[in-house]
Symmetry: C2
Amino acid sequence: MTSCIGSQAGIFLGRPCYPYTVRMAIAATPAPPYYAVIFTSLRTDGDNGYGTMAEAMEKLAATQPGFLGIESAREGLGITVSYWESLEAIAAWKANATHLVAQQRGRDTWYEEFKVRICRVERDYAFDRA
Amino acid sequence: MTSCIGSQAGIFLGRPCYPYTVRMAIAATPAPPYYAVIFTSLRTDGDNGYGTMAEAMEKLAATQPGFLGIESAREGLGITVSYWESLEAIAAWKANATHLVAQQRGRDTWYEEFKVRICRVERDYAFDRA
């Protein structure tokens, strides 16, 4: 893990630490096949309630049937990949009433641009130094 | 696009700007089906030549047969998704001699942990405010 330097009175010295909402873990997905939703986005200016909603949506997604894990990073471009057991589980999450409200606010306010790609994970492999 | 505040003598005020190597564009992939390689990683401490090699590998990947695009972000967790026309194109890139050297340095030095997922993109959709 890379180290970071904490903030003091809003002044960052060196690379800032990440907010507590950032997930620092690689998702522990089962053996393939399973499904991935790659959500790539560019934000509009300002928070406008985005941070709170993003965290709420991650927590809500994790309670849905067929959810396998989520990975997220933003560095100008934002990439969030969520993993699911089936296409049916993905469709159910897309149609979730609370999620529909968030999706509408995304189009109205938070996103300049986004792309969603629905994928079948065919195989995977991993490396762990530990 | 979100705004950022530049660095002054190593002191960041607010959210720092991104280095010029960061890609800020959503990949302009063709209509599905096509393939995605989701590379999720946690780095070791220090740069150790990583930044230079990462940039060189992105440039080299873009010259390979069947390459369709790449998206990348790191926020503690790093996510790089590259897009390809076929599984054969992905296999050829994995076996590229220069890339093999970079892969070995990744295991020796740069990565604490990583996971690679090879996926078939079944469908996609997009939103663009412009």
